[in-house]
């Protein structure tokens, strides 16, 4: 079996070990079509490892594994999810296998925030608008410009702005907490101004549909990976999007091998592959946004670097697995609710 030269010499032990394992069980928050290229690529290399995914909501991935881990039941060998608070917690209590991928040296610093916790992809949250309802001039280019436009013409935006509701949704909480953490009081002031015009949603589907029908004219911090494929569909011109020029939230998707996993060698091979140049390219082909620098930009829709180039590195808000997500959550939610109410 060919492995890159920078892999440790005893790597073949992992490969041999995987041969006697019973396949790989992944609990994830991704969909079948996101997985397909990655798994195909992986199987081309390690055809004896049967990969099975259980695709659930972010929270369920963890609830299910946590409840199963103490029993004799078959459970996940690898977890993938966007539940940032959980990853932060795992980072603290060390419930993930501390495996350092040989690919780490080729990855940015944020790729392994805690021992055993890796980042699979970095998915941007963008501004989406209804191109038929908002004229070119009206279209905000970022959070600040949205605040400006909305206060200037409240009737056009009243009740017609949507975003993830940070008070009701862990995804939204992680995103907005990171944003506010970086942008500080200025952003809070802006939010207080447009807060009453916002209708919070908890999932991408209704946001996109309602923006398309015109119920909302625009959304801020809408999951980019749900929008990008839609732009290419017939009629996609109804939607427009922009990476907010004053701060694009990049949501990290965590990945980790639980301690005591039944098939650790297969899991390690999979982590290494997913983080490799080839694997990251496949991640991109599956619709997610890879962050490894040597991914060819013409192979995938977006990469971390491409977005970074577009808006400037400073304007990237990395929504990672900060432990303050746990400790500060309640006060943040309270503050959020007040801001949404305009107070």
């Amino acid at each position: 079996q060919e492995v890159p030269s920078y892999y440790p010499t005893d790597y073949s032990q992992i490969i041999e070990g995987s041969r006697s394992e019973s396949g790989l069980m992944i609990y994830s928050n991704m969909a079948d079509n996101n997985w397909q290229p990655l798994i195909e690529g992986f199987n081309a290399k390690y055809p004896w490892i049967k990969v099975e995914t259980v695709d659930l909501g972010s929270g369920t991935v963890h609830s299910r594994w946590e409840a199963e881990k103490g029993s004799s039941a078959r459970t996940a060998d690898l977890l993938v999810s966007g539940a940032n608070d959980r990853w932060a917690a795992y980072g603290q209590d060390g419930s993930m296998e501390d495996y350092k991928s040989p690919e780490a040296q080729h990855l940015p610093e944020f790729a392994q925030p805690y021992p055993g916790v890796n980042v699979l992809s970095t998915d941007p949250l963008v501004i989406t608008y209804n191109a038929a309802l908002l004229t070119e001039e009206q279209r905000p280019t970022g959070f600040a410009s949205l605040v400006e436009a909305a206060t200037a013409d409240p009737s056009a935006f009243e009740g017609k702005i949507t975003t993830y509701d940070a008070a009701r949704n862990s995804f939204g909480l992680a995103a907005w907490w990171s944003y506010m953490d970086k942008k500080g009081d200025a952003a809070w002031d802006g939010l207080r101004k447009i807060g009453p015009m916002i209708r919070g949603e908890t999932s991408g589907g209704p946001m996109n549909e309602k923006i398309a029908t015109g119920e909302y004219v625009m959304g801020i911090a809408v999951s980019g990976i749900t929008i990008f494929p839609r732009l290419e569909q017939p009629g996609g011109e109804i939607l427009g999007f922009a990476f907010p020029d004053d701060g694009t939230i990049m949501m990290m998707r965590g990945m980790g091998i639980p301690k005591g996993a039944a098939n650790p060698n297969s899991a390690k091979l999979f982590v290494d592959y997913a983080l490799s140049q080839e694997g990251q390219t496949q991640v991109g082909k599956g619709g997610l946004v890879p962050y490894r620098e040597d991914v060819a930009e013409d192979q995938v829709r977006y990469t971390f670097q491409k977005i970074s180039e577009q808006i400037g590195e400073d304007n990237m808000v990395i929504a990672g697995f900060d432990e303050r997500l746990i400790t500060e959550a309640q006060s943040f939610v309270d503050k959020w609710n007040e801001a949404i109410a305009g107070r």
Partner: protein, 572 residues
Amino acid sequence: MTDISHTGSTGLGIDRSRAIYWGVAALTTVLVIGPIAPILFQAFLDKPLYDDSAALTVGNFARLFSEPGMIGIFFNTLYFGGLTMVVAQVFGVIMAVLVGRTNLPGRQWLGEIFIWPLFVSNLVIAFGWFTMYGPSGFVTLAAKTYLGGAPWNLYTVSGMGIVAGLSQAPLTYLMCLAAVTKADPLLEDAARSTGAGPFRALLSVTIPMIRPAIIYSAVLNFVVGIEMLAIPLLFGGPSGIQTVTTFLYDAGINAAVRPEYGLVGAAAVILLMLVAFLVWLQGYLMKSSGRFVSVRGKASRPSTLELGAWRWPAFLFVFSFVFLTIISIFGGIFLRSAVSFLTPLIPFWKVLTAANFELVLSSASYVRSIINSVVVATVGAAIGTCLILVIALVSRRSDFRYSRALEYVALFPRALPGIIAGLGFFYAVIWLPGADLIRGTVAVLILAFMIRYIPVGFGAIAPALAQVGEELDRGARISGADWWTTVTRIIVPILKPALFSCYALLFIHFFKEYVTAAFLYQPGSEIIGTTMLQLVAQGDNGPVSALATIQVIITAAFVILARRVMGAKIYG
């Protein structure tokens, strides 16, 4: 009394019937308690059940009640549940009577369409409603253009209640339909000959006679309203309206930080108490059940009520109702499955695409989920119908000492919101010894769905059972049949329409269920519901609608076919 005198009779006492009573009681209890016990236990733990350091506490209840705005949340919930029930009952009963009893033109196909809302999950129904009646829905815009305004607002508790009620009306309809077809037409004849017009006869005689079915479905719909998540979440969320379930979902399960299972458990305990009360109330309202018997030993002829001059006005009313609340909604869903964007801003023919179906049908695991769903629904509904039938017979038609208790136990699963129930099954399957055998197979899904929907099936069978006069049982007993032979050979054939309803209801519910499955399925045992959940995550309702369309087509085909095969002849 000496004990010797007893041995003689107890020796006789262990007969087949008694073995069945005890067997079914034990089975039901295990099946129901299995998933409920962990949740109840959880209610009194300060940490998740699986956490070894969890300690006993009553703090969960304190937290639940000290939550700010809890009064408002409770009020919303009761109002929502109540409205759901009222709307469902009014439309369901009217429809059942018109279809089952009158010569309304086109009643066959109107009846078939009427049950569509049951075929798909509330998530999809809600989506259909806002594409049509949302603030920028098609009908809303049309109303604004042609009528100068649309007097409805879905994003209120009332709006939610009406949508939920209309999507539950088919449940009432199916339960009452079984009862209505068995009401003795002679009694209507009697009313008409004393001077009642056809509608008056229906109102004063037929409807009161199907009271068991009405009471039963009312209680069920109220509970469904209270535990319903999707509609309050989708419609209430953006405008900040909360019900108990959305509160639990936001604060308990989908919490921004760490789920609070203790809170969830505490709320489940309260819901269980509520259901216990409702079941008691139901029993109270059904006192002296002899009042509802309409299948007597004196046979009378099946017949329909002539509406006369009312035929066409009634048709117009029913048709516009069906059109506005079902056909248009499903039209929206079907249309959505065939376009890339569904918006009034672009003519739909410009955005027609087959991509949504391609996406669904090109994935091996998605296709497998459809096949699995068909298996779970057909097989599961059959097993479920049998189990529920036996439970109903033992609890309503036997001299089993604990018959009433059995009924209570069987009805409890309904109290748990699907998501909580899913969690309960999940714990049960993990921790019950031996359950590992079926874990992750479709068998466990069948089992879980079955238990969860016992109350729904029971509601289809029990009221119909109440209509069958005891002299028919008695006639069989005296002819030499023991209890089991009597019910299987005499009662069950008479109950055929109700059994069909039960089977159809279970099939439909199993086919669309998702929340309960989320914790239980594994690769290989995915079902349509879990696939839909994944597709929802992509933020594109196109594939979701495509799947919903497939769901409707399969279910409708199945229901029509099954009716042909099973329900063709009621009297022989």
